[in-house]
């Protein structure tokens, strides 16, 4: 696992969907909407969710499963770092 949370997420996107293009798709704008720019589809979000829960040993509450928390790199990072019990990379 990479040493920063951001890199961990980029790696996952590359490994599963973009194969090296994730960074250029995001294009330096960490607030870019995944859904609107086709970076991740709704089916992909479920996989990301499972990945996060598995990797960081975290249980994400159903009420938190929404685009408000997961639709961009920045949103995911903000949400996770604030999550109680989060011990993953910063």
């Amino acid at each position: 696992m990479a040493d920063t949370l951001r890199q961990t997420l980029i790696d996952w996107l590359d490994d599963n969907y973009h194969f090296g293009d994730a960074e250029s798709l995001i294009g330096g704008d960490d607030d870019k909407s995944f859904l609107q720019h086709g970076i991740l589809t709704s089916l992909g979000f479920v996989e990301l969710l499972l990945f996060i829960e598995r990797s960081f040993d975290l249980k994400i509450e159903r009420k938190d499963v929404s685009p408000a928390n997961f639709d961009s790199l920045q949103k995911i990072m903000t949400f996770l770092k604030a999550a109680p019990g989060y011990k993953g990379p910063q």
């Binding site: 709704s42 979000f45 479920v46 499972l50």
Partner: protein, 492 residues
């Protein structure tokens, strides 16, 4: 009453005028809309309006209970909340099951027992299907689940909530809105602008073209005769009927959805889009993100996602969850084994796609060239062709009356002893070609390179644009079949 029926031409202007002459106060505006919705529904069957309103009242009460703040005694509260959720699901899904599936399940059970030599006689009731129940049930269930998970605050105003569950543009056939989309709009007064009227009217016109012109011209002329007497028609006529049905069902439902969205917009309310150029899709998952969007995202949000990411048996079992979702979709579309079969076809399709995708992803990880190949025109075209062909073929059981007809029709696509060909005169043929061409054009101008064409149209001076709309109306008056047929999706 449906939007393409004549009485609606009397109903809509009256409601619209009443709505906008009201002072701009939420209670008055919502009152007019709610009353209009009830009149609209009662004009179909006033007795079953009670079911709609009664169910909404129950969900309003349960929603208020579920939306209360967290109390000190968390354990008791938790179990009571689960009880409230369960109660709402029982009432909603119970009513749906009773009205929509009683006959199907009772008949199937009796047949099954019969097959084992037992005689069972569960009564097969001839129940009238309440208009829109498949749509308003899902919208209310979505609301209750959202409130339960505290993703959405419970609606405080009974008036707003009743309107949320009885807003006439979407009442009979969607789009199925999320609470978070629709409720906030109903909680504040709407303001009339020229943009609203213009865009609403243009959307209604576009929807009307797809529904009353495209779908209702193609269906009776190319599709119905072949499905009615399949053996008499040639293979070519079967292919024509199948493609015709594809265009018909798209025109029918996408058109009706657009009319609903356009009418809602005339009242200053924005409904979610329901079709996003599905015939451009290059994979089945993409297709379902573009076709009947509000149903598929509901199935995804409230069935697939909780199952796969929940803690039960389905956790991480993507394949099984996909099959379950499409079985549910099949049953939602109709209480018949042909729809179940259709659901299984798409469940399998989604599973095969996922297997292929995982395999291809493993190739991509090894070799970057696969990533580039996937972006080539050749790959795109092949993917598009496979996706669309699969969808088109899956419409055979969707349209056919039973399995016998399904397989007979499918067989005759390859070889048919029939000699008849669709019998259409010269002028109707030109009209049908134009209708099919219109659906094609509708999709093409969404392609990145051609979007400019649409912008060009809106840059044309207003009088010319008006003239173009005028010509469209004239064409529709000349060519839309009189007494255009019923709306297919309303039966679901």
């Amino acid at each position: 009453m449906s939007f393409v029926e004549v009485e609606f031409a009397f109903f809509l202007p009256v409601v619209l005028a009443l709505y906008w002459v009201m002072p701009r106060i939420r209670v008055l505006q919502n009152g007019v809309l709610l009353l209009a919705g009830w009149v609209f529904y009662a004009s179909w069957n006033w007795k079953l309006l009670a079911l709609l309103v009664g169910g909404s009242l129950i969900d309003y009460g349960l929603g208020r209970f579920l939306g209360r703040g967290v109390s000190a005694d968390d354990a008791t509260q938790g179990s009571r909340r689960r009880l409230a959720l369960g109660l709402s699901l029982c009432v909603n899904l119970g009513a749906l099951a009773y009205f929509k599936y009683e006959g199907f399940f009772a008949q199937s059970f009796n047949d099954l027992m019969g097959a084992f030599g037992l005689s069972a006689s569960l009564p097969v009731l001839q129940i009238i299907l309440p208009l829109g129940i498949s749509f308003y049930t899902l919208q209310r269930v979505g609301y209750i689940v959202d409130v339960y998970y505290r993703r959405l605050p419970a609606s405080r105003s009974l008036l707003d909530f009743l309107l949320f569950t009885g807003f006439f543009p979407q009442l009979t056939a969607g789009p199925i809105a999320r609470g978070a989309e629709l409720l906030p709009q109903l909680e504040k007064p709407r303001r009339l602008t020229a943009m609203l009227l213009a865009s609403g009217a243009a959307t209604v016109l576009l929807g009307y073209m797809l529904k009353a012109w495209v779908a209702d011209s193609i269906g009776p002329q190319l599709v119905d005769p072949v499905f009615a007497a399949s053996a008499q028609y040639t293979s070519g006529a079967h292919w024509l009927a199948l493609f015709g049905y594809t265009l018909q069902i798209f025109g029918d439902f996408a058109g009706y959805s657009l009319i609903a969205i356009g009418i809602a917009r005339l009242f200053g309310v924005e409904l979610p889009i329901n079709f996003d150029y599905p015939f451009l899709s290059k994979s089945l998952p993409e297709f379902w993100r573009r076709w009947h969007i509000t149903l598929n995202r509901w199935l995804f949000d409230y069935i697939y996602s909780p199952l796969v990411s929940g803690s039960g048996w389905f956790r991480g079992r993507f394949y099984s969850a996909l099959m379950l979702v499409f079985l549910a979709s099949g049953l939602w579309h109709g209480a018949a084994f042909t729809f179940v079969f259709w659901g299984v076809m798409h469940g399998i399709g989604m599973m095969v796609h996922r297997a292929w995708d995982e395999y291809y992803r493993s190739l991509c990880r090894k070799d970057r060239r696969y990533v580039a190949w996937r972006k080539t025109l050749g790959y795109s075209l092949a993917a598009w062709f496979v996706t669309q062909s699969y969808f088109v073929l899956s419409l055979i059981p969707f349209r056919a009356a039973d399995f016998g007809q399904t397989f007979a029709f499918a067989g005759r696509l390859l070889s048919s002893g029939g000699t008849q060909w669709a019998q259409v005169g010269t002028v109707p043929t030109l009209n049908l070609l134009l209708a099919a061409g219109f659906v094609l054009l509708y999709h093409l101008v969404e392609l990145p390179g051609l979007r400019r064409l649409r912008e060009l149209f809106f840059a044309v001076p207003a009088p010319l644009r008006g003239a173009a709309y005028g010509l469209v109306v004239i064409y529709l008056l000349l060519f839309v079949p009189v007494g255009a047929s019923t709306f297919i999706y309303r039966q679901f």
